[in-house]
């Protein structure tokens, strides 16, 4: 069940059809790859079985922190069926997704940094032989003290985890102040303060990482990988293997979910490339599920203290945050994470003054990185809980408190990011109405409650990971006289549907039936560069590039038909498989004929379009670019829960999810992102955490022990799409893939409070934590909804 509420005035954004009805955009069209997916025909990386394929395996460290004294691979290399063995010394170039923090090697050289760190790799006839060979590799480790907590890491800089770190175990520190924070807090009539802990979580995409390397006789190295960043992988393969980049081809087959877990290079990609170069045969490595947990790069655990000041009418005066971030062994995207932990809080509320002080620390655990809602899900949890406390203190309905503090459209945040369209008020109104909020809040019986939370997220980042002035995304078109159009783009479809989105846009612009569009993506030999599936950037950026690519083609087709019909070009309409001149029924030809007329007149048809971000949309302070986006999405959720005060069990009955995606290019796909996001947030709220034992061993690296929500746990989800029409988004569109995760967690926390009167500050909300909080409330002699 879905309501779509356009909010005016709908700035249509780039793309034709302004004012006119769309033929394709906004409809519940099939995905271009849907029929292949439901028949098992989609090819994922592990489905590739080239002739002469060898299978690789990686030997991993059993220690959280140890020096490698020596490695002896001779017995493994001599094992029958083994074709090559490599160690860290074969790939001695440090890499890292962020060019300023290249602090890891494909395989450890001197030191292992966590249990599961790769040390050596083998290529053999089959997986069993490769595994047997791993057992023959002899490594002499000198075990070092493992640094497993943030406190320990800071207290013992001499036990340095990552030797690339400039200072002890500090990975990154950011402190930024905007406005008069101390004055704002001193002048506040109410200040709430508390400390929250987000335990971190992992992506757990159902497809494990997989890569196939294949050095051809022509000297071209092809790497197929389940990556979500083929372009960055391409660059890093070239650097680390010391091969010219034009000798390498990266292809991303269908990817079975990413969520940020495949958005940087991993050891297996370097290993298959190197092993193929050594053997001259294709080599495949498929991670076991345990290895996926070791690869991690998931959500950072964060310990967050907030002080939020306000006037008695609920208007915010100042916000101050101190955040400690557990980064694991490497930097990964950590520089960005540290900024994001503070920078993305500037909306959807107007903060008159704001300060954050965030420190990311190295520990001997699998590295944390970007997970859906990178760096901002944790602070959003804390801050939206703080707002709920504030509402209680000033006796305001929490939705009303949020409404009063709304940032608004066409403005700047306290940290100077430009904000264009903003449908946050409509999101609040949507969930308030759909959930029956007014009849439920504080009025449901003890044990039942509702909670609200809001959020915002970026539609891509304004700056690429490595500094350059080139477009962030590009699309090329091949327009065929058969009436078919082939779209070439570097984008990475990881299930979110960007291949389909490009097809919808080109079909809309050129009037071609969807079945006549072919989409070729994520192949560095065939497709123009797109930076990848991260930061919710593709619809906005590649969408605009696709519209730009169509413009010239469309003009030529219109010109050709205008001449044939003796009408002005502007009167030639391309839609639904036909070129027509509305008003003259005889002026209508199948689109293939129009393509032919244009090809006859102008020569072979094709188009190129690209998109780059605006660069003047942020402040000039150091770090001002991190968090700057061409447009921001907005979300609000209401969660309804039942809490059993005997068992401590929390059951989430339903989450109403409202999201301002600018414009839904396909509402079915947008809902899919909203539902998937909300469900992922729900899992983090109630179940997910990554405990390690005192030796740094993950306590349950399996899909059984790591508690993913099943069909039986997941609440009912109701999506409410809000369309604010962004003037720079394609047809007004903004992101939908990450924003709607954020409010789930605080909405559930706030609903638990409404249900039983306790504020839970540590994730996940497991029954013992709920019971302990209830006990504390009882001990304090406080009652809730008439219950002691």
């Amino acid at each position: 069940m879905t309501g779509r509420r356009p909010v005016g005035p709908a700035g249509p954004g780039p793309g034709s059809g302004e004012g006119a009805a769309f033929s394709v955009i906004g409809k519940r069209n099939r995905k271009v790859d849907g029929r292949r997916k439901v028949t098992g025909q989609s090819i994922f990386t592990d489905d590739l079985q080239p002739a002469r394929l060898l299978h690789g395996k990686i030997l991993r460290s059993p220690h959280a922190h140890a020096r490698i004294r020596s490695i002896d691979t001779r017995r493994a290399a001599a094992h029958p069926g083994v074709h090559a063995v490599i160690t860290g010394r074969d790939l001695p170039v440090a890499y890292g997704i962020i060019p300023w923090t290249r602090d890891e090697y494909p395989l450890a050289i001197d030191k292992v940094l966590y249990v599961g760190d790769g040390v050596a790799a083998v290529a053999a006839d089959d997986e069993r032989t490769a595994e047997a060979a791993l057992a023959l590799i002899e490594i002499d480790y000198q075990v070092l003290p493992a640094v497993l907590t943030v406190e320990d890491a800071l207290a013992h800089p001499e036990n340095q985890v990552n030797t690339f770190s400039a200072k002890g175990n500090v990975s990154k520190q950011v402190r930024l102040t905007f406005g008069d924070v101390e004055g704002g807090l001193a002048g506040a009539e109410v200040v709430v303060e508390d400390t929250w802990f987000h335990a971190g979580s992992t992506h757990a995409a159902i497809e494990p990482h997989c890569a196939v390397g294949d050095l051809g006789a022509d000297g071209i190295l092809t790497v197929h990988s389940s990556t979500q960043v083929p372009h960055y992988l391409h660059r890093e393969l070239s650097r680390v293997l010391e091969l010219p980049i034009d000798r390498i081809r990266v292809i991303q087959p269908a990817v079975g979910g990413g969520f940020g877990g495949k958005s940087e290079p991993f050891d297996l990609e370097f290993a298959v490339a190197k092993l193929s170069c050594l053997t001259g045969r294709p080599v495949k490595i498929l991670y076991t599920r345990e290895e996926v947990f070791a690869a991690h790069r998931g959500r950072h655990p964060m310990l967050m203290t907030y002080q939020v000041g306000a006037r008695r009418d609920g208007m915010l005066t100042a916000v101050k945050a101190r955040i400690l971030i557990d980064g694991g062994a490497h930097s990964s995207f950590g520089l960005v994470t540290t900024y994001y932990s503070g920078q993305l809080l500037g909306a959807p509320y107007r903060l008159p003054a704001y300060e954050f002080d965030s420190t990311r620390v190295f520990t001997n655990k699998p590295s944390c990185g970007p997970k859906r809602g990178h760096g901002s899900v944790q602070p959003r949890f804390a801050f939206e809980c703080a707002l709920d406390m504030l509402a209680e203190r000033v006796a305001l309905d929490p939705i009303e408190l949020r409404r009063r503090n709304v940032l608004g459209a066409d403005t700047r945040t306290v940290n100077e990011f430009r904000v264009t369209s903003n449908g946050f008020l409509e999101c609040l109104a949507g969930v308030e109405r759909a959930s029956g909020w007014k009849e439920k809040f504080r009025q449901l019986p003890f044990g039942r409650g509702v909670g609200v939370a809001g959020s915002t997220y970026i539609s891509g980042t304004n700056y690429p990971i490595y500094p350059n002035e080139m477009p962030q995304s590009a699309v090329q078109l091949k327009v065929d006289r058969s009436g078919r159009v082939t779209v070439f783009a570097g984008v990475s479809d990881i299930g979110q549907g960007c291949d389909s989105v490009l097809a919808y846009i080109v079909a809309e612009e050129l009037g071609v039936a969807l079945d006549s569009i072919r989409v070729v993506t994520a192949d560095t030999d065939l497709t123009p560069v797109d930076l990848g599936a991260y930061s919710s950037r593709i619809t906005f950026m590649a969408g605009n590039a696709a519209i730009a690519a169509c413009a010239g083609v469309k003009r030529r087709i219109q010109d050709a038909m205008a001449q044939a019909w003796s009408v002005p070009p502007g009167q030639v309409r391309l839609a639904d498989g036909f070129a027509t001149a509305p008003g003259t029924p005889s002026h209508a030809v199948p689109i293939a004929e129009a393509f032919q007329a244009a090809e006859a007149r102008f020569g072979t048809l094709g188009g190129v379009g690209s998109y780059n971000t605006p660069k003047d949309v942020h402040g000039s302070y150091r770090g001002a670019t991190i968090g700057a986006s061409p447009a921001y999405s907005f979300s609000a959720h209401v969660a309804e829960v039942e809490v059993d005060d005997q068992t401590g069990q929390v059951r989430v009955k339903k989450i109403w999810v409202a999201h301002d995606c600018g414009r839904a290019l396909n509402p079915m796909l947008v809902e899919g992102q909203m539902e998937g996001s909300a469900a992922m947030g729900f899992g983090e709220a109630l179940f997910e955490e990554q405990p390690y034992d005192e030796r740094g061993l993950h306590r349950g690296p399996s899909l059984l022990d790591y508690p993913l929500a099943t069909t039986l746990d997941t609440p009912e989800l109701e999506s409410i799409i809000v369309e604010s029409g962004d003037r720079e988004g394609p047809y007004g569109a903004k992101e939908a893939g990450e924003g709607p995760l954020h409010p789930s967690i605080p909405a559930i926390a706030n609903a638990i409070h409404d249900a039983v009167g306790v504020r839970l500050t540590r994730l996940p909300f497991l029954p013992p934590r709920v019971l302990a909080a209830l006990e504390t409330r009882r001990q304090a002699g406080l009652s809730w909804k008439g219950r002691r």
């Binding site: 519940r28 099939r30 995905k31 790859d33 849907g34 029929r35 292949r36 997916k37 439901v38 028949t39 098992g40 025909q41 989609s42 090819i43 994922f44 592990d46 489905d47 079985q49 069993r128 992506h203 757990a204 995409a205 159902i206 497809e207 494990p208 269908a254 990817v255 079975g256 979910g257 990413g258 969520f259 498929l286 076991t288 599920r289 990881i494 299930g495 979110q496 549907g497 079915m668 796909l669 809902e671 899919g672 539902e675 998937g676 996001s677 909300a678 469900a679 992922m680 729900f682 399996s702 899909l703 059984l704 993913l708 099943t710 069909t711 039986l712 997941t714 009912e716 989800l717």
Partner: protein, 167 residues
């Protein structure tokens, strides 16, 4: 030593040489090239490898290949008949139930086993039947929608008088 095993897969009799420890999933994917069934964990935790064994949903990663001698295996490749999508496949496609599509083959096979037994399942019945199939993308909402819709169509087709109506 490898040994020979004969069984019927998607209606076709096959004979395969397998290692004693090889799983049915390995045999399907590597020996028979039926890569539709997916390996998400290889431990029985995720459901991506679900296939039908004599009509019952099983996890192919937990079944030894040699144990299917003489039995009937149906994989996602065998769901469509004569190029026509099964109502479940059609519903998954049109309802947006497949995002990345990695869980989809397993989901479809579990749903197929359910519908064979009960073509009027409640939403809760569907939740229970699919509770062993993990999906990380969808939040399950659209998967449940699709199964309920497809079940309705299968039910109607079965109830329709012979020769009349279309599913």
């Amino acid at each position: 030593m490898k040994e020979s095993v004969r069984f019927v897969v998607n209606g076709d009799p096959v004979e395969v040489l397998v290692e004693p420890g090889a799983t049915l999933l390995e045999c399907l994917r590597q020996d028979l090239g039926l890569t539709g069934s997916k390996q998400g964990c290889d431990k029985g935790d995720c459901g991506a490898c679900t296939v039908l064994l004599d009509g019952r949903a099983v996890l192919a990663c937990l079944v030894l290949a040699r144990s299917v001698e003489g039995r009937r295996v149906t994989t996602v490749e065998g769901l469509a008949e004569a190029g026509r999508l099964h109502p479940l496949q059609e519903a998954f496609d049109t309802q947006g139930a497949a995002q990345c599509g990695f869980c989809t083959p397993g989901m479809l096979m579990s749903a197929c086993a359910l519908i064979e037994e009960n073509d009027q399942p409640s939403r809760q019945d569907v939740r229970e039947a699919l509770s062993g199939n993990l999906c990380r993308c969808t939040g399950y909402t659209k998967i449940l929608d699709a199964v309920v819709k497809a079940a309705g169509e299968v039910h109607q087709a079965r109830a329709a008088p012979k020769g009349g109506g279309k599913p």
